[in-house]
């Protein structure tokens, strides 16, 4: 064995260890993704954008760990302990693992996206979103835009951060029907019985295609997939069928921007501005104002919202646009109470 050839990487590796020890002195923010992965064009990616924004702005260190299965949550969190000033866990499903780690390590700061603890845990900041407010607008928009009189939705897993989108969407359609005397139907979710279509995963693009196809076959011409990267499969289907036949409403991030290859299929996206809340949680930890508890993103504080129509702008009637603006203001001032 050629010793010189071996020696070089070993030396480099040794320097790296020293290097990482040195950089550990800088403020470090760490993220653990759920099984969707860091590049899901959705909420893991949006949350990570919050970390990278903070890195760019404040010159801090950032790391992430991807989970392959639910069994990874706890060891992934554990392996970041000690090396991170704040650990951001993304997703409702990580609620139990985060709580356990936070209670075992009271000096470690945590922030979890999409989970509200009751009672709250002192070293965990929960970030939740009134996504139903934005989804309400999307539902109203969809009801106004549908030609077939049928719109559809499906979710990843039947958990509150997912179904809150579907609730708002369905209520928005109902509100449109009330106002206009129409009878647009929503396939895939019943907000009263809390039952609907779920892929039971956040990974399979094939499922996204199949579920959208089924909804399309039942007459839906606008579909809202609430399942992270699964929705990319639905977008691919819409791209093939043509946007006249099927439009997609994105979730979490503005998917017109995050999925540029298929951007034409998105009517709009329901924004969940996790990047903003994640960044503010990091900043709070940096300047010492971090406190556990709950932060709620709403239309009012721009934590949730509706993305621009982009290419669809000309297709959406001006009247509908202004009605949506009005409803948004009514939700903010409490005239319309979503879900009541």
């Amino acid at each position: 064995m050629d010793f010189k050839r071996l020696a070089k990487p070993a030396l480099l590796a040794g320097m790296m260890v020293l290097g990482s020890a040195a950089s550990a002195l800088a403020f470090t923010a760490c993220q653990v993704t759920d099984t969707g992965g860091i590049d899901d064009n959705g909420f893991n990616q949006t949350a990570w954008k919050g970390v990278t924004d903070a890195m760019a702005e404040h010159g801090i260190e950032g790391r992430f760990l991807e989970s392959q299965a639910a069994t990874d949550y706890e060891p992934n969190i554990n392996s970041l302990l000690g090396g991170c000033d704040i650990i951001i866990t993304v997703g409702f499903l990580m609620g139990d693992a985060t709580a356990a780690a936070a209670q075992a390590n009271p000096d470690q700061k945590f922030s979890i996206v999409d989970y509200a603890y009751d009672p709250t845990i002192p070293n965990v900041l929960g970030q939740v979103f009134a996504t139903d407010q934005a989804a309400f607008l999307a539902g109203y928009l969809a009801a106004g835009m549908t030609k077939s009189g049928t719109v559809g939705t499906f979710g990843g897993i039947n958990i509150p951060p997912v179904t809150v989108f579907m609730d708002g969407f369905a209520w928005g359609v109902d509100y449109y029907n009330q106002q206009k005397g129409t009878s647009v139907t929503v396939l895939g979710w019943d907000p009263d019985t809390k039952e609907g279509l779920f892929t039971n995963n956040f990974e399979s693009l094939d499922d996204g295609r199949t579920f959208a196809q089924n909804l399309y076959d039942e007459g839906a011409d606008i579909v809202l997939p609430v399942a992270g990267p699964v929705g990319l499969g639905s977008a691919a289907l819409a791209d093939e069928l043509g946007t006249d036949n099927l439009k997609i409403i994105g979730v979490d991030a503005d998917q017109y921007l995050t999925n540029p290859e298929k951007q034409g299929v998105y009517l709009t996206s329901i924004l969940k501005q996790m990047d903003a809340t994640v960044k503010s949680a990091i900043e709070a930890a940096m300047d010492g104002t971090f406190a556990g508890g709950l932060e709620v993103g709403t239309l009012e504080n721009a934590g949730v919202g509706l993305a621009p129509y982009h290419d669809m702008d000309s297709a959406v009637p001006a009247e509908l646009k202004s009605e949506i603006e009005t409803i948004k203001q009514q939700i903010i001032d409490g005239t319309i109470s979503v879900g009541m």
Binding site: P9, A10, L12, A13, G14, M15, M16, V17, S20, G37, R63, L65, E66, Q68, A69, A70, T71, D72, E74, P75, N76, N78, S79, L80, L81, G83, L93, D96, A101, A104, N105, I157, N158, I159, P160, T163, K194, N200, N201
Partner: protein, 381 residues
């Protein structure tokens, strides 16, 4: 026979009882080849990472992380052992099947069913002391896993249905069955609408072994159960008449039948044993690691168990070593992500390369021709 002849025969018989010393080949196969396999895999893995624009620094850093994260600290050992425990248990089950000539693909389903049974037993029966409740929950996993695999064994014995097909189908059934069970009101966690079970009560949890040092050390009592299972399988396979029947049937089913062994009974027995071990692996996960069941909580353990069994050459000690290797790769792979930021997919490639090289000793001998003096063992399997 004359006295002289008899004396000669006795002397010859005595000579025949001598065992040959293990050959150099055995030593090379067991120690040198795996070491070279890891070296070869790391070099090739490094080239793959280079090709995907990972810097040389990051590669060096990631390999240090691989070692550090698997064996470099108490926490690393704890993670390695925690990950290895279910793999060894399920791997033993698969290996038992291989030994008897049955290709049991169903460990994944057996892990799920055994785990579900253990969870249900684990959150029910509040108020029992741990020395009753924990064994009860473990036994539930063993029995249900064994029963579930026994179905495939019975189908084989009674109808000749091939176990590869029936165990794959039982896997598919188990996924949906778990989805369904997790929505059944008395199992589903109250207040949740997604499929997730109630949490296992404290009295049914496998106690953590080292939490008195650091509460984050996850290694738990399942480790002891796993080591007992390794010993049990070794004893069963090599020291009992049942193990003799398993091995004979696996090597030559016709000869076993001609020797009066009952093949139908052996199928059912070995499949039930395989399922019991896989079910124990599932129970180990829910009682020692997850504390609850959610869809897909098996996380591919049942499939990795097939690799573990093959890599361990279906020998209980081999399975233990292979399972530890898999566990170390899992724990070390996590550290590679943390320290070097190498993507999970690349880590998967490096892990698979190491396993592939170890599984192909002849390839390693061809790549590193020097240093191997023993003749390559030809294996008939």
């Amino acid at each position: 026979m004359s006295e002289q002849q008899q004396a000669q025969t006795e002397k010859l018989a005595h000579q025949l009882l001598q065992r040959a010393a293990p050959s150099r080949t055995v030593y090379e196969d067991l120690i040198i080849v795996p070491v070279f396999a890891i070296v070869a895999a790391l070099i090739l893995g490094g080239l793959v990472m280079l090709a995907t624009n990972v810097s040389l620094e990051a590669i060096g850093k990631s390999y240090v992380a691989l070692i550090y994260g698997s064996v470099g600290s108490l926490g690393a050992w704890s993670e390695t052992l925690t990950a290895a425990t279910p793999l060894v248990l399920a791997g033993l089950g698969v290996a038992m099947g291989f030994r008897a000539g049955f290709f049991n693909i169903g460990a994944e389903g057996q892990v799920l069913m055994g785990g579900m049974a253990a969870v249900i037993a684990g959150f029910s029966f509040a108020g029992l002391p741990i020395y009753i409740h924990l064994p009860l929950a473990l036994m539930a996993g063993i029995l249900v896993g064994g029963f579930y695999a026994g179905i495939a064994g019975w189908l084989r014995a009674a109808t000749g249905a091939h176990e590869v097909i029936s165990t794959i189908m039982l896997n598919l059934i188990s996924y949906r069955l778990v989805d369904y069970l997790l929505k059944v009101p008395f199992i589903q966690k109250s207040g949740r609408s997604d499929p997730i079970s109630n949490a296992v009560l404290d009295s049914a949890q496998l106690p953590r072994l080292l939490d008195w040092i650091d509460p984050n050390l996850r290694v738990h009592g399942g480790l002891i159960i796993m080591l007992l299972a390794v010993w049990f399988c070794y004893w069963l396979l090599f020291k009992t008449t049942i193990g003799f029947e398993f091995r004979a049937s696996g090597e030559n089913a016709d000869a076993a039948r001609f020797a009066g062994m009952r093949s139908g009974l052996i199928v059912v027995l070995v499949m039930a044993l395989a399922g019991a071990l896989a079910g124990l692996a599932g129970a180990n996960q829910v009682l020692g690691v997850l504390e609850r069941a959610s869809p897909g909580f098996s996380a591919g353990i049942g499939f990795n168990a097939i690799s573990v069994a093959l890599l361990g050459r279906s020998h209980p000690i081999g399975v233990l070593i292979a399972g530890l290797l898999f566990g170390a790769l899992e724990a070390g792979g996590r550290q590679m992500q943390v320290d070097a930021g190498v993507s999970l997919d690349l880590i998967g490639i490096v892990q698979s390369l190491i396993i592939a090289f170890i599984a192909a000793p002849l390839l390693v001998r061809a790549v590193f021709p020097w240093g191997f003096r023993g003749k390559a063992a030809s294996r008939k399997e």
